[in-house]
């Protein structure tokens, strides 16, 4: 019996689903699963019980919230896919008053029939079993997650930073050599330091690590390079505004005197 899966999108750019759909061997891979629901790709199907539900996107409307709860009730395993689902996404930058202001600025006093709210990660509403990080996730990780589930096992999330992948690949360090504010040391690995291969500093799109490994040396480097806390913070906020440990992490990085 093949595993029953559902693929869902809340509010996002739909890139995680597009990445899943454009995995090179998708047609062969799809044969091994019973796809019950994938509305971006298929007009068949209602939400029904599945073994695994993959959810892309953040919750930004009451309708998103309602739909997410139905998805959870009908799934044995729920996987949050991508930065919007896991951390609220770039749209999660607007918070509290900033959000109210933005809404007014854009729509004026015009009433919209649907209720919109601040962009939240899905874990604020339902229990999440696994996170598949990335903006969008990498092809090999998508296959790894699907394969482990198909084998009756489970995927292990990475607990080391992009920085270590970059070192392993021997790319020049853009933080030290080019004075670029690289978030590689703070960001979850798995992309094989894709941007660093191109000499582009990490913007942190995969989300921050639960624990930071080398904050002492990192703080020293940021300091030596004259990168202020404010700028590092504004860069970290792009993908991590709602990351609970942000303040703690920044404190570790910047308050650690010599």
């Amino acid at each position: 019996m093949s595993l029953k899966i559902g693929v869902h999108g809340l509010t996002s750019c739909y890139g995680c689903q597009l990445k899943m759909a454009s995995v090179k061997e998708i047609i062969n891979i799809a044969r091994n699963f019973d796809i019950k629901y994938w509305y971006m790709i298929s007009s068949k199907g209602e939400i029904e019980h599945v073994d695994i539900a993959f959810v892309e996107g953040s919750v930004t409307t009451k309708e998103d919230e309602r739909e997410l709860k139905i998805i959870r009730e009908n799934a044995d395993i729920l996987v949050a896919v991508g930065s919007c689902a896991i951390h609220g996404g770039v749209q999660g930058i607007l918070f509290g008053e900033e959000y109210e202001k933005a809404f007014k600025e854009v729509y004026g006093d015009k009433k919209i029939e649907y209720e919109a709210e601040i962009s939240h990660p899905i874990k604020n509403f339902v229990e999440v079993d696994y996170n598949l990080p990335g903006c969008p996730p990498e092809e090999d990780e998508i296959i790894y997650y699907l394969a482990t589930f198909a084998l009756g096992s489970y995927p292990e999330e990475k607990d080391y930073p992009v920085c270590s992948e970059c070192r392993r690949n021997g790319y020049p360090c853009v933080l030290i050599e080019k004075n670029d504010c690289c978030l590689g040391p703070l960001t979850v690995a798995g992309c094989n330091a894709r941007c660093l291969k191109y000499g582009i500093s990490c913007i942190g799109c995969r989300g921050a690590l639960e624990e930071i490994a080398w904050f002492d040396s990192l703080a020293k480097t940021f300091k030596e390079k004259n990168m202020g806390e404010e700028y590092v913070k504004s860069r970290m906020e792009i993908f991590g505004k709602q990351y609970e440990k942000m303040e703690e992490m920044l404190k570790k990085v910047f308050e650690n005197e010599d």
């Binding site: 999108g9 509010t11 996002s12 750019c13 739909y14 890139g15 995680c16 597009l18 990445k19 759909a21 454009s22 090179k24 047609i27 799809a30 796809i35 994938w38 509305y39 971006m40 790709i41 298929s42 007009s43 068949k44 199907g45 930004t60 409307t61 998103d64 996404g89 770039v90 749209q91 930058i93 607007l94 900033e98 202001k101 933005a102 809404f103 600025e105 854009v106 729509y107 004026g108 015009k110 009433k111 919209i112 029939e113 649907y114 919109a116 709210e117 962009s119 903006c135 969008p136 894709r194 941007c195 291969k197 191109y198 000499g199 582009i200 913007i203 799109c205 700028y231 504004s234 792009i238």
Partner: protein, 425 residues
């Protein structure tokens, strides 16, 4: 007796993003597209951030057109800060852009539109009966992906393209491969064009309309700085606010465009209507053979136009890849810290406009107008006319009418995520 029916689908399958259609049929017929996907305020998010961070955020508006949402703001920022990049960088950007165009078009046709034509709920079930069609389509897609990964660093959210150039310019050997791949998939693309010539367009949606498209720099392409209209106006992108207005309706999170107070169309069909004289090579032959399918008044011609564009752009990419000379280049740094600039390009779904104001390296103001926001009102009119036509012809099955109006929507290839990034005017 008064007959009233309504067709409501709150969440249309096989489109990018989340939108519903609500059609009312009776003495009066009306159609509304409810964009229910939540707003994402990109213009506000980017405010106060460094321009290089801001242009890295923009692609997140939409995955299907993340390359246009990177390269267009980059150009607007470069115009604002008077950065002049080399011809080589411009050419590389164009190849990257066209690679995205080819991928976006084929994915839309293969996964979203063609299942309707053949009567399947999705491409997976279609594959069982039409494996060859799927195979040739996916080969075209892989070609687009290869280009985007090579030049952009990845197919979705390309980080290698930055203000002032590229992080790293790929080696020449890869461009030989692009040329070879292009040669091999050209016949696939021709077959896709021929697929669409086997169907007649429904005449219910025939309606004269205004098409807006770019006045391209060199031949048929995506770059330019002027916009052309069907009523023979040509205006510079910096004057866009004088000509294109946007409104809010209470039933939708997306804003809605109008030109001279009226709905209009943008996209592959609009480009071909205005610029078909620049089409050359195999695509030109196909276009003259199947001329009757290029009908400015019928939105179904948009799918045919996308297929023609795939052929044209594959040949164009091949030509560029063969003539490009590769050399290492440093990223050009700005000499100015403040300024204002505009840029327009042709995204897969039509005109995409970015306007920025930068002060001391930080974004003061950003405005984005996406193609889907521009054509939404026109799409509503076509949906209404489709329902009306079928109803008056005697079709009373709401399921069938529902399916047909969805086909109208998919002909446009709407990008809902784009339309609700939210525009401020």
């Amino acid at each position: 007796m008064k007959i009233e029916r309504s067709i409501r689908n709150d969440h249309i399958a096989r489109i990018e993003g989340k939108a519903g259609i609500f059609v009312k049929i009776g003495e009066e017929i009306s159609a509304k597209i409810n964009v229910t996907e939540g707003p994402r305020f990109f213009e506000v998010i980017t405010k106060g951030r460094r321009y290089d961070d801001a242009v890295a955020i923009c692609p997140r508006i939409c995955s299907f057109c993340s390359i246009p949402h990177k390269l267009t703001p980059i150009e607007a920022v470069e115009n604002a800060l008077k950065i002049e990049v080399s011809e080589r960088v411009k050419k590389l950007r164009e190849i990257l852009y066209l690679g995205n165009m080819v991928e976006s078009h084929i994915l839309h046709l293969l996964l979203f539109a063609i299942p309707d034509y053949l009567g399947y709920p999705d491409a997976f079930s279609m594959t069982k009966d039409h494996p060859e069609l799927m195979k040739i389509g996916l080969e075209i897609k892989n070609f687009g992906v290869f280009i985007q990964e090579l030049i952009g660093s990845r197919e979705i959210h390309p980080e290698n393209a930055v203000v002032g150039g590229f992080g790293r310019i790929p080696e020449i050997k890869h461009f030989y491969k692009i040329g070879e791949m292009a040669k091999n998939i050209l016949q696939n693309a021709t077959a896709i064009v021929e697929f669409f010539t086997e169907y007649e367009y429904p005449s219910y949606v025939n309606l004269a309309r205004n098409h807006l498209a770019i006045n391209p720099y060199n031949g048929y392409g995506v770059y330019g700085e002027e916009i052309k209209t069907t009523d023979d106006l040509t205006f510079h992108v910096s004057l866009y606010k004088e000509h294109i207005k946007e409104n809010v309706e209470s039933y939708s999170f997306a804003k809605r465009g109008e030109y001279k107070g009226k709905p209009f169309m943008v996209g592959a069909l609009s480009r071909l209507v205005h610029n078909n004289k620049f089409i050359n090579g195999t695509a030109k032959d196909l276009l003259s053979e199947y001329k009757k399918f290029l009908t400015p008044e019928n939105p179904f011609a948009n799918n045919f136009s996308q297929a023609i564009e795939i052929v044209h752009f594959i040949e164009k990419i091949k030509e560029f890849a063969e003539e490009i000379k590769i050399r290492k280049e440093e990223i050009v740094k700005p000499t100015e810290k403040s300024g204002a600039g505009c840029a327009v390009t042709e995204a897969p779904r039509g005109l995409l406009i970015y306007e920025v104001e930068i002060k001391d390296g930080l974004i003061e103001y950003m405005n984005i107008i996406t193609p889907t926001a521009m054509f939404l009102p026109m799409m509503e009119i076509d949906i209404k006319n489709m329902a009306k036509g079928l109803w008056e012809e005697g079709y009373k099955d709401t399921d069938l009418i529902g399916k047909k109006v969805e086909m109208v929507m998919r002909a446009y290839d709407p990008c809902i995520s784009c339309s609700v990034h939210v525009i401020k005017l």
